[in-house]
Symmetry: C2
Subunit: 426 residues, 2 copies
């Protein structure tokens, strides 16, 4: 285990992966620029980790609107319950996130801890407690040492500055091997607006609403209702289309904050044509972040897109795509550079959706490997193997039954996953 010493690379201790950095990590990190109305910072509360940051605070200027989507888990964490309740007001002044402890399945003490953090943050920022949003990630079931977080909140709030995005993205990492950030600019109502986002993975990932933790911020001026509609739509082809290990988390949280500082013309509905470019760019940022989660899936040595077309409908296509993406046999074959398309057939077959073995077509990348219920006549083992040996590849399935289609992204299943999860309570 290598952990950065306090102050080794910057004034603030940077958490660095305790596992080898994913081979799919970006070569260069995107640099998020200041966004009018947002200031951030990170601090060391010592919730679980030592000598690294584990709490981040973002402060929003008055007038900031917020939307959120959350895990559908029946065992949702206390912070998820807190945020859901706060959303009825739809106004945000602060975000507090800690790593090391998920504050999930922690009973009444968990809610008390969440409330204590909100109250302390509200005091430090000068707002109401229900304008404080929060998320926690880490071990499930351990009581949250809320006092360690509240003890540092005032200092961290005082440090908040417009340019500390990476610091914030690093403080929320758990088994992540790199910080995940994305940005975009869009034209909206006569103005250029910015979108900044960051998130974390990297195990217990099959989001059923948002992924583990993702935060997107914009200076666009948009009402909470519009933000919520945009987020509900945007999460489907992004965070709700990725899976690392089929294990939906108790803590999935995706929050979208809009400070309104850009001063664009008013927008009253998510279907307003003025939103066209903003929607496109927002969805790009969401997908970019979601793919960074897949590329940092626990133990990932490669990632692949699963594209399903020709299904009865889109729902059936999604179910079949997830059946392939979650199949341990498909994932281990990919890890072993084994063009084992028979396992893809089996995964299609087990999905329970309408499928006709004798119409099915399967491609690895551009290589057609199976056609009409049997091995493709021009099947070439060498080419197929070359295709699945790539760092990023695609499995494509055409059921040739209807117009339903779906795409999901996932990573392979390697010894690294076992190492991370079989020997270490993350």
């Amino acid at each position: 285990m290598t952990q950065h010493r306090k102050g080794r690379t910057s004034a603030t201790a940077q958490p660095t992966a305790i596992h080898p950095v994913s081979p799919l990590a970006p070569k260069r990190f995107v640099r998020l620029l200041p966004l009018d109305g947002v200031r951030l910072a990170a601090g060391e509360a010592g919730v679980r980790y030592k000598n690294r940051t584990d709490v981040m605070v973002a402060i929003f200027d008055p007038g900031t609107k917020v939307a959120g989507v959350f895990t559908k888990s029946k065992a949702a964490s206390a912070p998820v319950d807190w945020c859901k309740a706060a959303l009825s007001r739809g106004s945000a002044r602060a975000l507090v996130v800690n790593s090391g402890n998920a504050n999930a399945f922690t009973g009444k003490a968990g809610f008390k801890g969440a409330a204590e953090v909100a109250v302390a943050a509200a005091r430090a920022v000068g707002c109401d407690a229900d304008e404080v949003y929060m998320a926690s990630t880490g071990v499930i079931g351990e009581p949250l040492p809320a006092d360690r977080i509240t003890a540092v909140l005032k200092d961290v709030a005082a440090k908040c500055a417009p340019n500390r995005w990476r610091e914030a993205a690093e403080a929320i990492m758990t088994t992540d091997t790199y910080p995940k950030m994305a940005k975009a600019t869009a034209r909206l109502g006569g103005k250029t607006v910015q979108i900044n986002g960051f998130c974390k993975g990297s195990g217990m990932i099959m989001p059923d609403m948002g992924t583990m933790l993702a935060f997107v911020m914009t200076d666009a001026k948009l009402p909470a209702k519009v933000l919520q509609d945009l987020l509900a739509e945007g999460v489907k082809p992004s965070f709700n289309s990725i899976t690392v290990d089929s294990d939906t988390s108790t803590s999935d949280t995706l929050l979208l904050f809009a400070t309104g500082k850009a001063g664009n013309k008013p927008v009253r509905s998510a279907s307003d044509v003025k939103l066209r470019d903003f929607k496109k760019k927002l969805n790009e940022v969401l997908l970019d972040l979601a793919l960074q989660v897949v590329r940092d899936g626990e133990g990932a040595s490669k990632c692949f897109k699963v594209s399903v077309q020709g299904a009865e409908d889109d729902t059936a296509a999604k179910k079949i795509a997830l059946s392939i993406a979650n199949s341990p046999l498909v994932k281990t074959a990919m890890a072993g550079n084994d063009a084992n398309w028979g396992r893809v057939v089996a995964a299609v077959g087990k999905a329970g959706e309408k499928a006709d073995r004798d119409r099915l077509r399967i491609w690895f990348g551009k290589q057609l490997v199976a056609d009409k219920g049997e091995r493709a006549p021009k099947y070439d083992e060498e080419k197929a193997t070359k295709e699945v040996s790539k760092l990023e590849t695609e499995i494509r399935v055409d059921l040739r039954l209807g117009k339903g289609k779906a795409r999901v992204w996932t990573c392979d299943l390697t010894h690294g996953y076992i190492d991370i999860n079989g020997s270490y309570r993350s």
Copy 2:
């Protein structure tokens, strides 16, 4: 890779596991005794493996009735389709099983191959082709070299004898590390009848009807309809309650043959009280075989029962139990002797069934670890760790909502699973 040489341990080459024998393998194999009306033998067809048996034949005396349950996969294998069609007659004279090739997703050539095997077996045995049952296990998508099987059928049929059960059980192994057999005797209609069964695993196991391949034979005299009803009922708490890796196979086949030689009094319905003991013993044999499959799950270092009670209904309980048993995070925690009950909470939460976090109770063995939405007051990490370090253990969940209950069995997820499936086209 170690493979037994031909004749190393007996006159017939015995296939032996190419992977280390499961630590959960039985210390001594049960010895199946002759069963009136059944003769068996194995042979070497060289379908895929060298220097080991890979085809088995069983010959049944005239009058033998048969029942079967099969995979619900939409990509079922050619032998599955063959058996389903033959069952409309319900009379069996032969069973032919090969390992090394699943004859699944092999198109028209696959059906042609299956028919060729049936015709050749019928000729060797002296019966109709639709009295021949068959199953194939191994690689999916490779054309079946049917000629290699038909070339040896006559010789294997000639060798068939009443005492070659183990030889038959060994010939159908693929990644199995030991042969799986079970037996029982039961009182039925004034007679003592025998039940012999054998089966194979050991990856792509989450049976959706029967498991990979399982064959049970009895000398009881029972009509095909009664056999079918008994099997449909008996498969639920046995083969349909196990999972190794959540990957339902294309080839799941469970066949039950009754030679009628015991000469018991007639039985006309599965609800006949005369069947009480037979049902009990049949179900015991089915569960015994199913558990042997779990204990030989690919890479298994331990196995555990997941018991769910207090769910809304039995269906909800089963879904929650499978959500736990299939969770890669629960399975890797078990592999690492990590009493990580938070992952059990998450698996309950993601199942999508009704659950109340604040009522939930979880035990590892007899250790109550979680109670009413948080860690149990008397939680003892050392005792919990000791419990999950056992070779066979139990995770028990009480939802405290209703009367629904279910039990499923599974194994852990280890480096062995990755080794077997990431580096070798099984």
